[in-house]
């Protein structure tokens, strides 16, 4: 059995009769960046809250560091850095004062931790500016600074680039990458910004309407599902039947415009063309294509895009 840093089994959350998270099994390995991808309201934040004990679990279990979360909550939380939803801080205090309160509550962090964490996210130490005067991007940064102040092994970040300007997005992305690659931190993040996920995630979990539709390594996912052959030939039904017979194609989709997407990319396109030509079926177009993550997301969730 593999050792996962975070593992959930059948995680379910119900509000009354409505289930907002349904039987989610998440597996986060040490040192990897795991991204939960889903639309707003898909259940990402609720899952994170349940992982941290902020929301009661209706059904299912959470294991962290190989042990059950229940009963070891305090010990685990000391090893985790968290930023959930919009970062909340006291508006009448400065960034340093806000972090001092959190550092004081943690009680065991090193001397320069506040200074270092603020510098890491590009905020000045002992600045006189109050939190209420911060821009959304700066608020997001202080949220990340609060999450890393105690040098945690695991980071749980909910929408970490939300509200950041393009430079801020890039810096945060690099920073998360650095934490994972150089310091071996395990990072679980959620986002609905596909371009960020594509650039950051090692492993991806696609969630829609509270159900985890897919969980796999991003590279595997790309290889397996995001590449396909796009074939345009008439009559479609006959072509499909012939390809099933000859090439044993099972994973395909007929698009609205009559084109066929074949996800078994091992087959050579020239073989398909030759095979169909020999049977007097002329191919209008055939291409090897790559889906973007957004296309894949649309396909797997069976509907609209993520935004």
């Amino acid at each position: 059995m593999e050792n996962f840093i975070i593992e959930t089994k059948g995680l379910t959350k119900c509000y009354g009769d409505t289930a907002v998270v349904k039987g989610v099994d998440i597996h986060v390995k040490k040192g990897e960046v795991y991204a939960l991808l889903g639309r707003n309201g898909a259940g990402k934040t609720t899952i994170m809250k349940m992982l941290l004990g902020l929301s009661k679990i209706t059904k299912g279990t959470v294991h962290m560091f190989g042990q059950p979360f229940e009963g070891n909550k305090k010990e685990f939380l000391e090893r985790i850095g968290v930023m959930i939803e919009t970062p909340g801080f006291y508006p009448n205090l400065t960034a340093t004062e806000n972090l001092e309160i959190l550092a004081d509550l943690r009680g065991y962090i090193k001397r320069d931790a506040i200074k270092e964490s603020l510098e890491k996210v590009g905020l000045p130490y002992k600045d006189k500016k109050l939190f209420s005067e911060f821009s959304l991007g700066m608020k997001q940064r202080i949220g990340i600074a609060a999450a890393i102040i105690h040098d945690p092994e695991v980071l749980i970040l909910d929408e970490p680039v939300n509200g950041l300007d393009p430079i801020g997005v890039m810096e945060t992305r690099d920073f998360i990458r650095e934490l994972s690659q150089n310091y071996g931190k395990t990072i679980l993040l959620s986002s609905h910004i596909l371009s960020e996920i594509e650039l950051l995630a090692d492993r991806i979990g696609i969630i829609d309407k509270g159900i985890l539709l897919e969980e796999s390594l991003f590279e595997e996912l790309k290889k397996r599902n995001m590449h396909y052959i796009l074939l345009s030939a008439d009559p479609v039904e006959t072509v499909i039947h012939m390809l099933e017979e000859e090439f044993h194609i099972r994973d395909y989709r007929i698009m609205g415009n009559g084109c066929i997407q074949i996800f078994d990319t091992e087959i050579q396109t020239k073989e398909i063309v030759k095979f169909l030509a020999e049977r007097n079926i002329y191919v209008d177009a055939i291409n090897k294509c790559s889906d973007t993550l957004e296309d894949y997301f649309k396909r797997i969730t069976g509907g609209e895009g993520i935004a």
């Binding site: 902020l54 009661k56 009448n92 205090l93 004062e97 959190l102 004081d104 509550l105």
Partner: protein, 254 residues
């Protein structure tokens, strides 16, 4: 626990609401003190006035409003989750806020003492025992706070609706104060309201100088000390246990 309590006080730094409460708390005892100075009342009357307006009006008001402010600021700023993900349990958060509000009570007791002593100096009939005066105010204020503890339940229930909560706690404090102020007029001597019990058992402490005409007051207001302490203790314990239970229940899903 101490550091959590200290942090609670830090949160009030530069806060408008806290500044307003400080101003109200500092200003109200001024009127009673000035009134006594203007009319050249004896020092014992000044103490009596400040016990009534200070310990039974200002202190419960400041305690309740500051406590509401401390609970409400976590709701308003979405900061409670930051504390909970550190692993600080709800009961510690609850008690630290209560402790911070009690620290503020002690500070205001000091302020009322300062007013009383300053008033005494102006009246020129002051018995110079600051610690004795402070002790009197502290005991009476703490008993008054114990009697006011049901307000914590109101705060916990209504803290997510700040305006309603503020109106409710002010009504509670004012009604309590009216009972104490017009104790005989409202025929309250047969009642066992915590605030009346607190007033009656602490009444003898506030007497700086015994005079013959106080005999009637002492006899009329007499309330058995042990029964009074039990009633105040029970009020405090029941209010806090129910409030804490409710708070934990509410915060189970942040």
């Amino acid at each position: 626990m101490l550091s959590i309590c200290r942090n609670e006080l830090k949160k009030l730094k530069r806060q408008k609401m806290a500044r307003m409460l400080w101003a109200v708390g500092i200003l109200i005892p001024t009127f009673g003190t000035l009134l006594c100075i203007k009319n050249h009342y004896p020092f014992r009357n000044l103490v009596g006035t400040n016990v009534l307006f200070g310990s039974f009006l200002v202190i419960p008001f400041v305690f309740s409003a500051m406590l509401l402010n401390l609970f409400e600021l976590e709701e308003r700023n979405h900061t409670l989750k930051n504390i909970l993900v550190i692993g600080v349990p709800e009961w510690k958060i609850f008690l630290s806020k209560l402790a911070a509000a009690l620290v503020i009570v002690v500070v205001f007791t000091g302020i009322i003492t300062a007013y009383t002593v300053a008033g005494g100096i102006f009246l020129r009939n002051y018995i110079p025992d600051v610690f004795h005066i402070f002790g009197i105010f502290l005991i009476i204020s703490l008993c008054s706070i114990c009697a006011t503890m049901p307000v914590v339940l109101l705060i916990i229930m209504l803290r997510k609706r700040n305006l309603i909560a503020m109106i409710a706690i002010n009504c509670f404090i004012l009604i309590d104060f009216l009972f104490v102020w017009q104790l005989t007029m409202f025929h309250c001597l047969e009642m066992h309201l915590p605030v009346l019990v607190a007033f009656r058992i602490t009444y003898p402490f506030g007497i700086i100088e015994y005079t013959d005409n106080l005999k009637l007051g002492l006899d009329t207001l007499y309330y058995p000390m042990d029964k009074g302490i039990f009633l105040l203790g029970a009020t405090t314990a029941v209010s806090l246990v129910i409030s804490l239970w409710l708070y934990k229940r509410q915060e189970a899903d942040v």
